[in-house]
């Protein structure tokens, strides 16, 4: 059997649970009765509000403006009225301002016809991407226009598209690659025009064989210079550092970006959003969200307007089968547990999961026995056990000296810890307190 490429150091193999939802075609969630649209849906500074309470808005209208270089615009998903501007708590515990919008009952949605874009220059394309508020949809929500701005003198060797979707349960990108193959590919070609890479690679984990086949077939049909690389299934391959290691065998040094090793990394969801932004001038106002988890009655992949409340999504999926142990926004490895079903879907929400307590998942914590599994699992070459101990003893300085900031909280260490120590929680705490 052919040995598929993957990244070399660390990683874990959680049960992917994708079969729960990967044959569910993407459905549209009906327009909910109320949308809550936070101004901070991305990494970086929150957008500043352009409207106020009582204003009428139309679908696609810019209602929040990027407030600095690393920031993104926010657009209104529907025609309707702004009924409130208030503080909300997002799933990741961030507190931010949000518009509460009541959609126009008769005609809530806008129309986005396709427009020609071949004549546009790379600069114009980039400007459109920025104007449409596109951010990375993989979860990190880094503003895409920043990522695509190649500084002068830098050349892009490889454009690597992330179709890995390594988080268990999530199937949103998978469905997108299957159902919107052509648009995803065209989105990639737009990015290629902006950044001018020497080669283009789509990395897809081998548990999505149908998507790989579909991509290859469409690429051949459209004649695009894109290679589809099937990757060995291993978490966290979807992280850009691991993905670059797996596809182009390069390691991004600590604190650097993909551009520093001559690469641009982009999610398939993002490239789809870029296609819509460029070809339809449609801002990022909806996204595909996976509804899954054992406690969910029906598992679905939904195209959801941003600002829809989690409660609406769950209701559309037939509600809960039984009381879940945890609600999670995002994937189970890096996603956030939340308790309030009134939180909204934002640009980075890739899934809403209702998980059952697995018998092994929550055994009581026991003392660390220095087994070294976390060290073996850490894809960044850190020593989570030692860092955790140092953080426990409030020695943040030494933890920092041991490269605590390299930790990206992928969860491999906690996942593999037989003592069930909350290692990632410790890393987050250490980073927060150590920075002070």
């Amino acid at each position: 059997m052919e040995r598929l490429p993957t990244f070399s150091k660390g990683g874990v193999h959680p049960d992917d649970k994708k079969a729960l939802s990967n044959n569910q075609a993407i459905q549209r969630l009906p327009v909910p009765s109320e949308l809550v649209l936070p101004l901070s849906q991305h990494l970086g500074a929150p957008a500043s509000p352009l409207k106020q309470k009582g204003d009428m808005v139309v679908a696609g209208e810019k209602i929040g403006k990027a407030s600095s270089f690393i920031s993104a615009d926010v657009h209104c998903p529907v025609n309707g009225t702004i009924t409130d501007l208030r503080k909300v708590v997002l799933a990741n515990s961030v507190v931010t301002d949000a518009f509460v919008i009541t959609p126009d009952a008769s005609n809530p949605l806008g129309e986005w016809p396709e427009q020609p874009y071949d004549a546009l220059s790379p600069e114009e394309l980039l400007a459109i991407v920025k104007d449409m508020g596109v951010v990375g949809t993989g979860g990190a929500t880094f503003p895409t226009h920043v990522k695509l701005s190649v500084p002068k003198g830098r050349t892009v060797d490889a454009l690597v598209v992330n179709g890995v979707e390594c988080e268990p349960y999530l199937t949103a990108d998978h469905r997108l690659m299957l159902e919107e193959t052509e648009r995803v590919l065209r989105g990639i070609m737009i990015v290629a025009k902006i950044t001018g890479p020497k080669r283009i690679i789509i990395g897809v984990e081998n548990n999505k064989k149908d998507a790989i086949a579909m991509l290859r077939q469409e690429i051949a049909r459209l004649g695009f210079p894109i290679t589809v690389m099937a990757l060995r299934v291993k978490y966290p391959q979807g992280d850009e550092k691991q993905l670059l290691k797996a596809t182009i065998k390069r390691e991004i040094p600590s604190g650097k970006l993909p551009l520093d090793v001559g690469a641009v990394v982009l999610n398939v969801g993002t490239s789809f959003a870029i296609y819509e932004a460029v070809a339809m001038r449609k801002p990022l106002i909806d996204r595909v969200v996976t509804i899954s988890g054992e406690a969910m009655k029906e598992k679905k992949n939904l195209r959801v307007l941003l600002g829809s409340k989690v409660a609406d999504l769950i209701a559309f999926a037939g509600g809960l089968d039984h009381e879940p142990d945890k609600f999670i926004s995002g994937g189970p490895m890096m996603g956030f547990a939340f308790h309030d079903d009134q939180i909204p879907v934002i640009k980075g929400t890739s899934g809403i999961l209702a998980l059952d307590k697995e018998p092994s998942a929550k055994a009581p914590t026991t003392p660390c026995i220095s087994c070294g599994r976390c060290v073996a699992a850490c894809p960044m070459g850190l020593q989570p056990t030692k860092l955790y101990r140092l953080i426990e003893h409030r020695d943040y300085e030494r933890a920092m000296a041991m490269n605590l900031m390299d930790c990206k909280e992928c969860g491999c260490c906690s996942y593999s810890c037989p003592a069930h120590l909350p290692l990632v929680h410790g890393m987050k705490l250490g980073k927060r307190l150590g920075r002070k």
């Binding site: 708590v89 515990s93 547990a337 309030d340 929550k362 909350p422 929680h425 705490l429 927060r432």
Partner: protein
Amino acid sequence: MNILFAFLIIAVLGLALGLGLAFAAKKFAVEKDERAEQILAILPGANCGACGYPGCSGYAGALSGGKAQNGLCSPGGAKTSALVAKILGIADEGAGERMVAFVHCRGNHELTKRDFQYEGIEECSAAHMLFQGESSCKYGCLHLGSCMRVCPTNAIHRDEKGNVTVDPEACIGCKKCTLVCPTKVIRMLPARGSHAIACNSRDPGPVVRKICQVGCIACKICEKKFPDSGCTVINFLSEIDYAKPMTQIADAAAACPTKCIVEAKQ
């Protein structure tokens, strides 16, 4: 004869060493921190290394440089540490009004509503990272006892219900607990203060009433009915001004509908 040799040889050795050292003491006289010298004179000079520093001079240097804790010298004992403190002037610390730490919250899992169950590190700041803690009140005590663990005198205790209190007698006012508390529910009070407000919530009264039985609901009874209690309600929370005369504070405490004015010395 033998005795003479013995005398001579050791005399020569001694003389050489004595001259050498005397010479060296002059020649290599290095300017030294005077306080370090003074401390060195006090330290026993056993150079036993028990303090963890390389010899008495190392410890003296660290002490005068403010890098070492006083009282590590086991041969010298308490006497030495007292003298060292005198030289360093650390005994003067704590002069002025004695302040003690106080936990401005009496809520617990029985009296205060919770949004969810927290699972994770037994550390307040860790819990605070997730929706600012499990309690519906985001201003109160998280009950995970980080303050207890940083307290150098074990002055902070937690009862079986989760209520955390500071023993004002044992508190030395180091403020370590106030620094580690993510909700800043521990603040310093003058040790003479008889009462304190056991609530930290800035939520409006109706909100507090819904989530906590012992929170300040900003009813202003203390402020209005007992003007000499020292209490003022600011931002939905009653606060005591300890500079004011607090003659009516006990009455105000009795009248408080949620009993969140409590005696500071339990």
